[in-house]
Every structure is written in C-alpha cells, then in structure tokens.
C-alpha cells in the first residue's frame, strides 16, 4: 500500500503502524433538541498530514473540528490525541476560525502576541516570535496597525500569524477563507500549503470548496449531511509543492469532478455530467 503512494509524498503518508495524531472512534453528537449532528464516525489523522473535511453545511464538519480542538465533546465515542485523552500533554494545537476574530482594541502585534501573553511569556522572549510569525504571513510592516485598518485578507493573515506564533504541531482551520474573494483565497491556500511543507505540521482544514480541498490537501474526507457522516476518504494525487499551474492540470480537474460527484451522491441530489 505504502509503496503505491507517489514518490513525492514520502514524509506525509499515513501509516497504520504509527499511533495517529488524532483518532476518532464511534464519535456521535446529538444536541439537546434532538438534532443528530454526527453519526458514528471513525477517523484517523496521521502526524504530518494535511487533511480537508469537505461537505455541505450542516454535515457536522465544524462540530468535528471543534471536537479535535477539545472545545466540544462527543455525546458518544471518543477522540484521542497520540492515543491519549488529554490534548494538552500530547500536542500544541492552534486554531483559525471562520472569521479573523482579532481583538479590535489591540494592534496586530499585540493580537499575535496574545497566546504567548496568556502563558505569561515575557515580552523580550515573545517579541522575536511575534515578528517571525508576522513575517511568515507577510504582515511585518503592519505590526502597529489596528485590525479595522486592514483588509479582510490581511486580517485573516494576522489570525494565521497568531496561530503560528505558538509553533503548533496541530493546526485546525474552520472554513478560514470562506468570506474572502477568490484571488485572496487562492493566495492564502498557497501560503498554507507552503507553511505546511516547511514545518512539522499536521493540518485539518474544514471547507465547503472542492477546489480548495483538492489544492490544499494530501487527503480529503467527504462528509454528508443529515445525519453528519463520512461518505468518502480519498488520497489526493498531486505534486508535493503546488502552484497555480496545478489548478489547471488535468489531474486537479479530474479529482475535483470526482469529489463533486461524491458530494452530489451524498446529498441525494442528481448529478449531471
């Protein structure tokens, strides 16, 4: 199985012999009003993977991500990080939300510094880290600006810098670029892919865009709605380092249309090809 993987994805392959970074077993979520957000879900995410959770709204992908962040707890089943129940001892997790969620009363530098501040890390130690994180997202010139002075895309970059400043090994992203225009979105998708390739980072990325999922991921998990469940789990074929040319390649388009078909079948709609 492993030898069948493309040669250019050797580090980030998933291996059944290693304890997965995130493991979900029989996870269910039922809300007090009876809504069944997730139905018996099993999933492994290996260290170093970049995985997209793809599905229509209401399929429970955000709920699942919040469980991976230990912000929500399953009604039944369990989530394990490196095989343990305690996320904090097992991984340094950072999360990026649907909106930039910056503190409007603080400038960009202080916003990015927040996670370190909350851990009582002194300014002399945190400042170089903050500057490095800002540089990684191309915002070093805007450290003193306030969030309202930045465009939506730049605010999202600041949010990303805030996630990177703690040097996480697990990055959870909840439809982070949904509200941005397509050009900005493409650029940020490339940046995420780039950051992931440079670091020892496991990324779980929630999206409802097929193109974004295929471009970003080494693996796409397709989810269906009502009740939320995994419909398909696909390895994405493509070069390790991707650029805009990949978006117009045959293999990209092929995989997109395959996913689109799967999604249509999952939501019970009729797919015309």
């Amino acid at each position: 199985m492993n030898s069948a993987l493309p040669m250019d994805t050797p580090i980030h392959e998933s291996s059944s012999f290693v304890t997965p970074m995130i493991m979900a077993r029989g996870v269910e979520k039922t809300y007090p009003n009876g809504t069944n957000a997730l139905q018996r879900l099993d999933l492994n995410i290996a260290r170093g993977e970049i995985v997209s959770l793809l599905g229509p709204s209401g399929c429970g992908k955000s709920t699942l991500l919040k469980m991976f962040a230990d912000l929500e707890h399953p009604s039944a089943g369990l989530v394990r990080w490196n095989g343990k129940a305690d996320i904090q001892s097992q991984c340094k997790m950072a999360m990026v939300f649907q909106e930039a969620t910056l503190m409007p009363w603080s400038n960009i530098e202080d916003n990015v510094r927040l996670p370190l501040d909350l851990q009582h890390i002194s300014k002399s130690v945190s400042t170089p880290k903050v500057m490095a994180a800002l540089a990684a997202v191309g915002l070093e010139k805007f450290s003193k600006a306030y969030p309202r002075e930045l465009s939506g895309g730049m605010q999202m970059r600041a949010s990303l810098a805030r996630a990177l400043v703690t040097e996480p090994d697990l990055l959870l992203m909840d439809e982070p670029f949904g509200a941005l225009d397509e050009f900005t979105r493409h650029k940020l998708d490339s940046d995420i892919r780039q950051l992931w390739s440079e670091r020892d980072l496991t990324v779980v990325f929630v999206t409802h865009s097929i193109y974004e999922a295929v471009y970003l991921s080494s693996r796409v998990i397709v989810m269906g709605a009502r009740p939320g469940r995994v419909v398909a789990d696909l390895e994405i074929e493509g070069p390790y380092l991707r650029d805009e040319a990949f978006r117009s390649s045959d293999i990209f388009i092929q995989q997109c249309s395959h996913l689109s078909q799967l999604l249509a079948e999952a939501s019970g709609g009729h797919h015309h090809d």
Binding site: F97, T101, Q119, P147
Partner: protein, 264 residues
C-alpha cells in the same frame, strides 16, 4: 472657485447652530422690548443676564451645591453599577436573582422614593446623593453587564484553547469588550444624575447653605422672579451639557483608536 463658507463641516457643525441661537436671542430681545411684555411674564435675555450678574453669589453657590450632589451621585453610580455588573457576569443565577429588583428601583419614579429616603437619611446632602444615584446607576449596570457578556464566541474559544484563566478572560477580553457599552452608559447616566439631583432637591426643598439650583427655582417661582428662574434654569442646562461633553470626550479618548463609534 472658493467653497462657500456654509459648506465647511466645522461651520456646519458649530457655527450654524450657534448663529441660529443668536438670531433667536436677538429676535426675543427686540420683539419683547417692542411689545413691552412685562418682566414677570417673560423676561428678555438682557434681564436674565442682569439677574445672573446681580445674584451671582447666590446662583453660583447653588450651582456648586447641585453640581456636588450630581458628581457624587454619578461617581457612586459608576462604582456601584460597574461592581454589580462584574458580579452579574460571574453567574447567571446571581443576575437572575437580583436583576428584577434592580429593575424595580429603575421603574419606580424617584419623586416617589425621595421623601422616604429623605426621612431615613438625616444628612440632606447624603439623602440627595442617594436619590440621584438610584436614578443614575441603572444604565451603567445594564450597559456594562451587556458589554461584559457579549464577547465574540471565537475569541472566547481562542482564550480557552490557550488555557486562559477566568481572571485573564475577564481582564483581557470582557473588560475591553465592555468599554464602548460602559461609555454609552456614562453618557446617559451623567444626565440622569443631574435630573435625580434636581428632582430630589425639589422634594427636599432644603434652603440655607445647602440650597441647590432647584431651591432657587422654587423660590423664584414664589416671588415671581422670572429672570432668576431663567438664570437658574440656564445654569442647570449648562451643567448637563458640560457633563455630556465631558463624557463624550472621555469616550473618544479611550475608544478612538479602535471602535467604530468614534471614527471620524
């Protein structure tokens, strides 16, 4: 081409309303002079100015009394309102228990409570401060509670992910978030403190050294001294306006960097 002066924003915002006021005063002065309206019916602006100069020591003494009560009541309202708001956000149960009684105080007219407070509290100044404070505390309490509560859900999650303590969430997230609401409360509350002070002065009717502007209005009414009445009224209005402007400036100073309400 030179832009007409009237289109300049500063002129429009300040000079134009001032000009209108001056024209009104001039019209008032000239027409009432011409019609020879008796001073005990409607005094002319000049009569009011003369009354203010002649009785300045009495008037400004009273102004100081009213201002003192207003400011003391306002400061107490800010402290108590904010502290109670902090207690309310710690637990929904506490808020649910006490909020109805806070509303009870708010909906009962101060004129109705004032006699009771004045009987219970011997010291007149203290009694008046308590009355005015009861009126002024509510907007600060409700606004600050709302501000402390309505934090962005994502930011709250972010603090939780980073293992922030309850104290860190309060000081670094809830308090800054509540500031615009708090300043909104201040602006409403400073006017209410003045209203509370004047109304309870009317009820108390205290003369002598503790006579406030309300007492001067009452006295002027008994003596049909309308210029004095207008002068006292003018001072009350100026006090309210001054407090409001002060609060607006304070709000601008603290929020102009980041909050939409203070953007030019």
């Amino acid at each position: 081409m030179i832009k007409p002066l009237i289109q300049h924003p500063t002129v429009q915002r300040i000079a134009a309303p001032l000009g209108l006021g001056l024209i009104f005063l001039l019209f008032w002065q000239l027409s009432f002079q011409q019609l020879e309206v008796p001073i005990y019916v409607v005094p002319k602006p000049s009569d009011i100015v003369i009354a203010m100069i002649n009785q300045s020591s009495v008037l400004f003494g009273s102004l100081w009394v009213t201002l003192k009560i207003t400011l003391l009541a306002f400061v107490c309202a800010v402290i108590i309102g904010t502290l109670v708001a902090f207690v309310f956000v710690q637990s929904r149960v506490v808020e649910a228990c006490f909020m109805p009684y806070a509303i009870l105080f708010q909906v009962t007219p101060i004129v109705a409570i004032a006699p009771l407070v004045i009987i219970w509290i011997q010291n007149t100044t203290l009694a008046l401060v308590v009355c005015a404070m009861l009126v002024a505390v509510f907007p600060i309490l409700t606004n600050t509670t709302l501000g402390l509560r309505s934090v962005n859900k994502g930011l709250l999650n972010l603090f939780q992910i980073n293992k922030a303590s309850r104290w860190q969430i309060l000081m670094r997230l809830r308090v800054p978030n509540a500031l615009p609401y708090f300043f909104g409360g201040l602006r409403i509350s400073c006017g209410l403190a003045l209203i509370g002070a004047v109304v309870s002065e009317f009820v108390a009717g205290a003369g002598g050294t503790s006579a406030g502007l309300a007492y001067q209005i009452l006295q002027a009414g008994f003596q049909l001294d309308l210029p004095l009445m207008f002068a006292a009224l003018f001072l009350i209005t100026c006090t309210g306006l001054g407090l409001f402007v002060l609060m607006s400036l304070l709000s601008q100073f603290f929020l102009n960097k980041w909050h939409e309400s203070e953007q030019v």
